[in-house]
Symmetry: D2
Subunit: 256 residues, 4 copies
């Protein structure tokens, strides 16, 4: 399968993961390693900045893993820029997942503040990965200000509802010149395969792995599903038919 | 992962395949081997009965593969029973996939004739695998007459539309004491994973592999997807939520 | 709008209703009259046979209403035939809705017993209206034995889930020579309109009206929705488009 | 049914219509009157500004109808403001539907420019009705800058695909303090009923009426469907069930 390239990094795995909601650090580490994910988001607010022995960070120190700080918890572009700068300092990375959600109930992203933050952060030398609604026009505008990828949501975060925004993801994928990473709503391996078959470049999965009774197995299942979907996308699937087509075309009945 | 047991056979792979619509025998063989499928349907009408050197059969001779003759092309129970007997003779197997579809356009199964044929065939010592609508009551009746599994359809055959019968498949899986194999309509790896996550015991895929531009890759993709879905089923997935749940629960905003 | 003809009766309303689950007889009567329904199912088991003053029956005596006894509660063709005969005696009608559901949990119909019962009942002079799965082959067989209509379900009874069997209903409507009445699963006026737009000849609604906090208003809403859907079907709707088509085609931008 | 109030106007009808794509002015007028719509969008670019005898305008002069100029064809907030001012002059109304879609293919709205335009137009004394993605955060921001309603899309414009954005419309309706009008994607009366049942305050329908073979009948059908959906919403529908619930609860089988 083709490698995925974002900014200066190259990924073998198209499954990105997160660190929220795991019952403990060891399970988290085991599950993330089992997923073979190479990019892992971590909420800045969960890192004990300046603490050399931060438990979360030390459990994620692994040669195959890059950390992707996110700005979860901020409500404005200004706060996001500040958080990104803190993260760059603390985690020694200029990558940042921009999440600006003023509403604590649904955690849906603010399109206007997100665009503003990304524009500013790109100027400050960041590699920005914005979490946004599946809004094709916003995606193009983010691309124009220099976002290195876009991260449209599949359905409300944590809902595990799959690709409810399918119609818009298709347009985004068709129009985008930067990688499209489906984020939020992917609750089952089949959802991840679905996104990859559609042509997404990667998916980000967190809740579905973290809160399952068996995170390591689910992580492996997602790994396989992402590979399956990508493999099918690259090999081109058969088109849908509106009418039944016999697998064994029925040119005649057997006994006539 | 758990092995699947049907009658006296045990399967490591939960992906069953078919032999229709491939462009040539070599591609068919390569794709089926790539899928790691251990049970392959073959239409009786496509076998040159009595011909020791039948091209289709010889290309499928492989230690890991069992052949499953189907009765495609028959319109009544009587014809199905006759076809099954022919197949037993020709292919030296008492397994038979019972397909009775009087309508050549949509190839949908006849519930009444299928039940009658299965009842008769079980008495004649066959292992019957009936292809049927996703009809929970019919599934129970087939189980009662001795069918060793049921094969409800996901959507019209060859439509590649996925699990349109989901609501009924769930009831069938809940109620069944024999393996449930989703047959027809599975057009993408994500559909196969979806069926397995739902609790299906196996899936049968033919058209989606055979008519793709790259059957070997698609076959591998289906293999991975079936494993992903089964692994997730066995490990138990997280439930769907109706409201967003933050991956990183938002107890407070970052700057307040 | 065209009138609907079944056997010897002609209907102005394409909304059939039921009598189950209402909180009391008066509300039931008011709601049914508000719906302008002309055919109302009544479970034989709920009628006090031989009682001239049966409360249910007397509340439904109205010139615009025909009663349609159903065989709910029977498990075999034999029981259904017996129940139909009882109903003919008690209610003085040779119409019968054939419902045979051996499973008390999901109340899904038995295809084999239903076909057998209908064949017998037609011979006995009944007008039979069979409640069945959305099974196109079974529908044709019922038509062949003389059923005057077919009543495929939209989704499991009482689920209010709408037309989950859409793909199969489309095939049934395309192939049928007798009226197709969608029964079960219609939980909202939009579901009823949906069925009518698809080309169903009528719908049967019970639970959604009976258990609502305001049955009379909901009954009126269903009446309007059925008319809306039928009107649109007769006038032919615009086809779906896969790509956006501007309402006001954009030949040029406004300021260029 | 409750009346709908937007800014200083009160509406009996919750069906708004448009003027694009009709084959001729007479059919347009007849269909709009048949719909009983009281608010009709008209693209500024289609009006011959300053022409007293503009054919489109004169055909729409009717006491029950208010015109709602839209800014279709503009790509920026600045152009939108200018177009709104032109429209106010030409049509003598301070109402304006703000449509800013830089992409001529899918005509999807630009969230950032739309917010900017609305903020400016409100200051200039306009009643603004913004056409937007089903983006809950954007809706709140529009409300904050003084938009008198929001017009989220159901699916891509002209697609006739219904409420693909259902999950987000539900959140918007839950959170909004101004009327929510579902715009774009409503292709069938059942879609309109669906939106109203969900709690939308109104719907805007254009393509589905204009391009049908029989616009007057379809317009009437939409009128009925909107009323049906609203009536059901006000009367409260029954909830969905996950398991079948018998209309006639089966406490026992009939013959046992």
């Amino acid at each position: 399968m083709e490698q995925l390239k974002i900014a200066d990094k190259t990924f073998n795995s198209r499954l990105f993961t997160g660190t929220g909601k795991f019952s403990n650090s060891e399970t988290m580490r085991d599950a993330i390693l089992a997923s073979e994910s190479e990019l892992v988001t971590v909420a800045l607010k969960r890192v004990e900045v300046g603490n050399q022995k931060d438990a979360l960070l030390s459990s994620l120190t692994h040669e195959s893993l890059s950390l992707l700080p996110n700005t979860s918890g901020v409500r404005t572009a200004k706060e996001a820029v500040f958080a990104a700068q803190m993260a760059r300092e603390a985690l020694e990375t200029n990558w940042v997942k921009v999440e600006i959600h003023p509403d604590p109930k649904y955690l849906l992203p603010d399109p206007v503040e997100t665009l503003k933050a990304c524009e500013e952060l790109v100027k400050l030398g960041f590699v920005v990965m914005p979490y946004i609604q599946a809004d094709p026009v916003l995606c193009k505008r983010l691309e124009e200000v220099g976002a290195q990828c876009v991260m449209p949501l599949g359905s409300p975060i944590g809902s595990n509802n799959g690709l409810k925004t399918r119609n818009f993801l298709e347009i985004i994928i068709e129009q985008s010149n930067v990688p499209v990473i489906v984020d939020a709503g992917i609750g089952r391996p089949s959802h991840a395969a679905d996104a990859m078959e559609l042509g997404a470049d990667a998916v980000l999965v967190n809740t579905a792995i973290a809160v399952s009774p068996n995170p390591v197995s689910i992580a492996k299942a997602f790994k396989l599903a992402v590979e399956a979907g990508r493999m099918a996308f690259e090999a081109r699937l058969a088109p849908r038919a509106t009418q039944a087509q016999a697998s064994s075309p029925l040119t005649r009945f057997l006994y006539e």
